[in-house]
Symmetry: C2
Subunit: 432 residues, 2 copies
């Protein structure tokens, strides 16, 4: 039961939408790139986003805090400050030449919801803290092996200090540790002492985010309630090694054809994907890179090398492990038959993050009473919410319909859809 | 019936082997590159090869001639100069940093056979002309659409003049026409007037060549009698176009995945290859190049583009056409199902060249009486012999065992195997 009438709540959210529009506009303008926006982790542009949000929090008379890793916290005090509060977060950084909404929409939705609750005049039952998270999109700016989501993992104490050195900025060539320090924060505290955020202090974590796929758009539904964030089994740099020979003169039985072997592997995984889908399983499988060596490959040469990547994602950890095991098994079998060698390099496994069942059904109830068309949907992309879920926070996500995907300047969220998502978020926060 | 005793013939060939060794050595030395030899078409290095061979022909008192395209002709007059003679040829050029034997072995075998016949003291029944052919390996030096085999096709009148302009030297950027003219020859005569060589003037065309595959080496047989030169159906620059999207967030039904579509196409053609082989058909199928766009592809992006080449070779024209038609049919079907577009660009068809049945059985007879271990074998690579066969010359080829393939500095023909092949060639030329 909410302690606010529905109409008071929705009116208060709608009345706060000009603030949301102003924040999107100001941050978008100040971090614009030749195309879209660029808010590089631990750059001045990312700092601008945090500064603008902090200024808005100040004018709303929220409590303002920060941790040693640059994350910003904006708190509306609850009537009982002793009970666990809500954490509402998303990230303030972006990919290079990305869109203005990926990440930022969730932080602005949080601020807007707090503005609406203030406007409605009723103190919430518990503290509600909006978190502006740093460096979620690290992967698109840094090479090397690392998991991204730096700000959330640093605050949760789940970021291994080694990643500060293995993540290397693609343009500067310097490690994340140096960039974090240069931005005025304290990388030496990563992985040390008591985490800044721990699940016992919070009721749960909520995140609003634009959908990065086309599902809500295609189904004409403005709001999604996320079931789980897909985990991933990934091999970034697979190689198949055979032998270069003459394409006309060498018969089948003397070939070690790397492309034909890799093609058989990929096709068999594709067929398995078809079987998993037919059985109602959740899976997406992508070979984003597949290339022979341009320095030596030729029309008339049997290829001696093929390079490819495997990106396997599912809400089910068992499905991830089954696909990875099938890839290994196929590689052994094909290598023996085709006289080639497969090397998958590092095969990483990131567990799926199932959203809290209670929060999910509450969000669906809320969408019903608020008369917001909605559907349940998995998240294929990774989000800070998964790190909170893995750290023991009950977590939930609200997706907002968005055309043209994300990670590009053409992402297109309708502000009316954003308002519906923010109503649902505010409704959830207003529950006792 | 030969007009020479077998022992006289083989002794004469063996006694002429020092000449062969001297020619290999001198031309190899004078055209050496950092690795292997480089005898670029219409370059000074190719001219050196012709000059050394001409000097050898002069010392053997052969008649020396040349056509307008730089091919050299060295003739041992027959006892009846009015009847059609033998033409014995191969090419004097090489790929960049290639081996010394690919091409040159056939010309030196011809010269050595003529030296042996001279030494045996018996004039052949008809003229025997050894032809040192230019620019067979053009493809490895020139870009653009062209069929290589320039010298033979120019002399046969089957070279379209347009190829002189469409073939562009990869280093100089200038067309073949200019390079041919700069070397002192006459490109304006290509395709004009009566061909320099016509089949009615010749008994047939014979060519000795190193095997470019591993078959003779693996079967431990020094000499092969070629059944046919495989034709080729080729698409050099195939593209599959889909749409780049997020690898996690976009489900199967909204993807246009260029790699998965191209993989299905290649795998289906591979399976058809398996069926053709199982049914005893002759086919080799190669995808020498397969690549996503390195400027935009990524582990976490559904690929919107895949580029690949198709090289289909067979002794059977029907098999070539069936495979090419299957590729087109698969492309239509896969494009419709997977929401992508295939573009094969120019799909060329080069007909197979079946070797003359009479010559083949004569060569097998000769190998038997000379006690040379031999086998019948298709040629997967293209040779000048195919242009003579297509022009109406009865043609045959002798393969000599060769390790490590060709088109590389490591090709390894045993000079003892070369002597066996040359014995067979001389025996054939000594038949009435």
């Amino acid at each position: 039961m909410t302690n606010l009438s529905l109409s008071l709540l929705t009116d208060a959210v709608d009345a706060s939408m000009p603030l949301a529009a102003k924040l999107f506009d100001e941050i978008g303008r100040k971090t614009a790139d030749t195309a879209g926006v660029s808010r590089e982790p631990y750059s001045p542009a990312e700092q601008i986003a945090v500064d603008v949000l902090t200024e808005a929090a100040r004018s709303l008379e929220l409590e303002i805090a920060a941790d040693s890793f640059g994350n910003g916290y904006f708190t509306l005090p609850g009537s009982d400050r002793g009970v666990p509060g809500w954490l509402v977060g998303s990230h303030v950084d972006s990919v290079p030449s990305g869109g203005n909404y990926d990440g930022l929409a969730g932080v602005i939705a949080g601020i807007t919801a707090l503005a609406a609750l203030r406007r409605a005049g009723s103190a919430p039952a518990c503290d509600i803290t909006v978190m502006g998270i740093r460096a979620e999109e690290l992967s698109s700016w840094y090479g090397g092996h690392h998991g991204g989501h730096i700000g959330s993992r640093a605050a949760l104490g789940s970021l291994p200090a080694a990643e500060l050195d293995s993540a290397v900025n693609s343009r500067s060539g310097r490690a994340l540790r140096e960039h974090m320090r240069a931005a005025g924060f304290d990388p030496e505290l990563v992985g040390k002492g008591v985490p800044y955020l721990s699940p016992d202090k919070f009721r749960g974590y909520l995140e609003l985010h634009i959908e990065q796929g086309p599902v809500l758009e295609n189904r004409e539904v403005p709001v999604g309630v996320v079931t789980a964030i897909r985990g991933a089994a990934r091999a970034r740099s697979c190689r198949c090694l055979g032998t270069y020979t003459h394409s006309g003169a060498v018969p089948h039985e003397y070939r070690s054809d790397a492309v034909m072997a890799a093609v058989e592997l990929v096709r068999e995984l594709d067929l398995e994907w078809e079987r998993v889908r037919a059985a109602g399983g959740d899976l997406v499988f992508t070979v984003g890179q597949f290339f022979t060596d341009s320095r030596v490959h030729a029309l008339t040469k049997v290829p001696g090398e093929a390079n490819f990547s495997l990106d396997i994602r599912s809400q089910s950890e068992a499905t991830l492990k089954d696909m990875a095991a099938l890839a290994e098994r196929l590689a052994r079998d094909i290598a023996a038959r085709r006289r080639v060698r497969f090397d998958f390099g590092y095969f990483s496994l990131q567990s799926p993050a199932v959203m809290d069942a209670g929060f999910r059904s509450q969000l669906i109830d809320g969408a019903c009473v608020l008369e917001i068309p909605h559907m349940e949907i998995p998240s294929g992309a990774g989000h800070d919410a998964q790190d909170f879920a893995h750290a023991g926070f009950p977590a939930a996500m609200i997706f907002v319909r968005n055309a043209h995907g994300s990670h590009n300047p053409d992402e297109a969220m309708d502000i009316a859809d954003f308002a519906l998502g923010t109503r649902l978020l505010a409704w959830m926060l207003a529950q006792n």
